[in-house]
């Protein structure tokens, strides 16, 4: 033992440690007491003892991970240094998986202040020291267990600390690799002259590497020191004797709580591949099935009830309810069934594909689109009008001309309603659509935006105007139906919902088409004559409050039109030219698709 003060690396005096159980002092267990030892430069000291004797605890006290409860610890050669005077080599390699071998050593070089530019060269030197120069750019997962241990060792040495603390560093390696590591550590010791404190449970390892051994005696104070002059059988015997003297249990294969290292993560790539294929096959089948379901179905055409499509919304629903409740289809001798759609284009598409025969209020643009494409349909009634008023609650907007540069809400872009609003503003008032900002949206949303002040004016349907004028202090700037008469001729209404009949019905069962239109007109007239009936129906079918239902009843006559004479055909033609001009319709429909004869026959039928 060389004990000159400059060679002394660590001196521990009377260290003590006990663990308190959860039950306080009663459970407290004394781990270490009165433990004193020195480690000097150039020597390797083995720390032995059976599992639970406190080997690793002692090492952790030296490293500062644990605070000793008694005693003192000094690092004489390192007083006042900013860096720890030791480098710790753990049981596991603890390499950073996202850094290469060289990068991992760079972590240590970074710590001791090596500038970035020089790190690579020094890391390569450190790796060459442990025989891994060629593996500098490999990631940890690409290295074997032995190689990883070497990198970990090289990383610890790169810290240039005089003292190495090793916690069973080779415990996980196979015996051949372990022997190589022993040779390596010995040669490194000669070169780097470090001192080391090494925890091990392997007597052979202790004798092979260390110069002397400290044996911890569980539950008893102090420790027993065994030294030897030459490696070999006598030293091994002496150490074994010392260990058995303190009733060392047979060496445990591994300390408890050892973490599983890499483990087997091979996984079943094959299984994953198979299931991926299965999913693919399933997807293709599902797609094919979906595509097939779009193919035309054989719908029975003759002698079956007429399939009446309707869109379940707002006031249309009231008309349907009225027709249903008053049995108007039955009254006119129509055998029918209702097909309900949730979307504005639902019955348009169903007409095009023959899933319904007639619809009493198809969106104007949709019906004209079918006609323009030459689909086998006829437009036979102007059912609903695009009524409404342009209203404002902005005090600065006194007339239409004040809308220049402001935001105007209207039906969604591309819809019939928006086309009419744009048209009357431009043609009757010289307000081109570029003069104001257009905001599209449904009725409720337009009201919301008016309240939020995001828009300065909005074209609201009459029913909304009736409901909100007082509450929101709305002022009317223009009446869309009146404006449309200026555009399309006296008596014309801006068409919104159109009665449409499939041509096959007109050819084979024309009477049914006439009965259908007669029943619809009958219903519209009935609603206009009996507002109480309408508001009662609205309240029941749409769950509206009495006020709201009343608003629908009051505007019934403005919303529904129920005619199809020359003025209406003219109006429709004007409308479709507008739609073509604004791009929402690709081409205008031939007038042959507008059939006024059904309407005339229905009127005759109604008497």
């Amino acid at each position: 033992m060389t004990n000159s003060s400059d060679a002394l690396l660590v001196r521990a005096v009377d260290l003590g440690l006990s663990f308190d159980g959860n039950n306080g002092a009663k459970d407290s267990r004394r781990i270490l007491s009165h433990v004193s030892f020195d480690v000097s430069r150039g020597e390797i000291v083995a720390l032995l003892g059976r599992s639970g004797a406190g080997k690793t605890s002692l090492l952790n006290i030296v490293a500062g991970f644990l605070a000793a409860q008694q005693g003192s610890l000094r690092f004489p050669s390192h007083a006042g240094a900013a860096r720890p005077p030791f480098a710790y080599v753990f049981q596991e390699d603890r390499l950073l998986p996202w850094r290469t071998a060289a990068g991992n050593i760079g972590l240590a070089l970074d710590r001791i202040g090596v500038p970035r530019a020089r790190r690579r060269a020094l890391a390569l030197d450190a790796l060459a020291d442990v025989g891994l120069r060629d593996s500098a750019d490999l990631y940890p997962w690409q290295l074997s267990g032995g190689m990883r241990s070497r990198v970990a060792l090289a990383r610890a040495l790169a810290l240039k600390a005089p003292l190495l603390l090793l916690d069973e560093p080779f415990g996980k390696l196979d015996s051949g690799t372990r022997a190589e590591m022993h040779d390596l550590l010995r040669s490194l010791r000669t070169r780097h002259e470090f001192g080391a404190l090494m925890v091990t449970h392997d007597v052979d390892e202790a004798v092979a590497l260390a110069d002397r051994a400290l044996v911890l005696r569980p539950g008893r104070p102090g420790l027993r020191e065994v030294a030897w002059d030459s490696r070999g059988a006598p030293a091994t015997r002496a150490l074994r004797a010392a260990l058995s003297e303190i009733e060392l249990a047979p060496p445990a294969p591994a300390s408890p709580g050892v973490k599983n290292g890499a483990g087997s993560k091979a996984g079943s790539n094959e299984g994953r591949e198979v299931s991926r294929r299965a999913v693919l096959a399933l997807g293709v089948t599902a797609f094919a099935a979906t595509a097939a379901s779009f193919s035309p179905r054989a719908w029975a055409a003759s002698a079956a009830p007429v399939r009446v499509g309707y869109w379940a919304t707002g006031i249309q629903l009231a008309l349907i309810e009225l027709i249903r409740e008053r049995k108007l289809f039955e009254k006119h001798g129509l055998d029918y069934e209702f097909v309900r759609f949730a979307d504005v284009n639902g019955n348009t598409l169903a007409l095009a594909t023959g899933r319904i025969d007639v619809a009493f209020s198809v969106a104007g643009t949709g019906a004209l689109d079918l006609a323009a494409r030459g689909r086998p349909i006829r437009i036979v009634l102007s059912t609903q009008a695009a009524d409404g008023r342009l209203v404002t609650r902005n005090p600065d907007v006194r007339g239409l001309d004040d809308l220049r540069g402001r935001s105007v809400g209207m039906a969604p872009a591309g819809s019939a309603g928006a086309a009419y609003t744009h048209a009357f503003l431009a043609q009757n008032h010289g307000l081109e659509s570029s003069a104001y900002k257009t905001v599209g949206g449904g009725e409720a949303r337009l009201v919301q935006l008016l309240v939020q002040g995001e828009i300065d004016a909005a074209l609201l349907r009459e029913v909304s105007v009736a409901q909100f004028t007082e509450r929101l202090k709305l002022r009317s700037l223009a009446d869309q139906r009146a404006e449309w008469e200026r555009l399309a001729g006296t008596g014309a209404v801006p068409p919104l919902g159109l009665g449409v009949v499939r041509q096959s019905i007109l050819e084979s069962r024309r009477d049914d088409a006439v009965r259908f239109i007669a029943a619809v007109i009958d219903g519209i007239r009935l609603g206009a004559a009996q507002p109480d009936l309408v508001s009662d129906l609205m309240a029941r079918s749409l769950k509206l409050s009495a006020d709201e239902a009343r608003a629908y009843a009051d505007t019934w006559g403005i919303s529904f039109h129920g005619k199809f004479d020359e003025a209406d055909v003219q109006s429709l033609d004007t409308a479709q030219k507008l739609f073509v001009a604004n791009g929402s319709l690709e081409a205008a429909a031939d007038r042959a698709f507008f059939d006024t004869s059904v309407y005339r026959d229905a009127l005759a039928r109604l008497g």
Partner: protein, 257 residues
């Protein structure tokens, strides 16, 4: 061409074939032909609409995802790091992530009206919990042994955070970002369809309302393509570059290697 290349083309080809067949046997208003869709796509591209609207939507989604990250990541890190924080505020995470995007979309439209914020809000509210969950799990999964190793070298808390914590949680952050971007893109379109005056979602809804079915398909395809392009040209290379240290096969990728 080798087998691998063929197998890559097989699925798109099959899809195109199924589409063409489906279009042939059904009404063009329901299923437009690939040619009609291509025509609509070209028209949209030539008029500049395609790029304008995609630009608007992508910008909104990106801002939303960034806002989601700025709120979600610190929250998730706090959840992963502190038991006390988890006890006091942990319930917010399942509450927010269980809230349907439809609800955020409706609220966004209601509160933010026509402004971009409506869409951004929806995307952010969808992205934030995804970021938070991944950040939390990432922080919880940090290897304490590596932290102890760095501390044994004498590194301080800030250096440990920079050198050990950040690289450890980066993969989790990344998968959070990838999820958030994917969900954000989908949810953002829904929000646009519900109440925005611009953007791909709005145009998609408008095309549906006008029964311009080829345009509907064109927008849909462009939306899917954009996601594939972002995945293949941005996320995938970043992931390959940033996480090449990972053992191959330990991480799944939607596009395959």
């Amino acid at each position: 061409m080798n087998v691998l290349a063929w197998s890559r083309l097989a699925f798109p080809a099959l899809l195109l074939l199924a589409w063409a067949l489906g279009a042939h046997f059904s009404d063009p208003l329901l299923v437009p032909s690939p040619a009609a869709t291509w025509g609509a796509l070209v028209d949209l591209a030539m008029s500049g609409d395609l790029w304008n609207e995609l630009g608007i939507s992508i910008q909104r989604v990106l801002i939303g995802v960034v806002l989601g990250a700025l709120t979600g990541i610190p929250f998730g890190v706090a959840l992963g790091a502190s038991g006390a924080f988890t006890r006091c505020c942990g319930a917010a995470l399942p509450a927010v992530s269980a809230t349907s995007s439809a609800i955020w979309a409706v609220l966004g439209v209601l509160w933010f009206g026509l402004s971009d914020m409506a869409t951004i809000f929806v995307v952010a509210m969808t992205a934030a919990p995804l970021f938070a969950v991944n950040a939390r799990d990432g922080v919880r999964a940090v290897d304490a042994d590596l932290i102890q190793m760095a501390r044994s070298m004498g590194y301080g808390p800030f250096a440990v955070a920079l050198r050990i914590l950040l690289p450890s949680v980066l993969p989790s952050f990344f998968s959070g970002a990838r999820l958030a971007l994917g969900f954000g893109w989908r949810v953002g379109l829904v929000a646009e369809a519900l109440g925005s005056p611009t953007g791909v979602g709005f145009r998609l809804k408008q095309a549906v309302d006008l029964m311009h079915t080829p345009e509907v398909f064109a927008w849909s395809i462009s939306v899917v393509l954009i996601m594939i392009v972002i995945e293949g040209l941005v996320l995938e290379p970043i992931e390959m570059r940033s996480f090449r240290w990972r053992k191959p096969g330990s991480v799944g990728s939607p596009l395959g290697a």
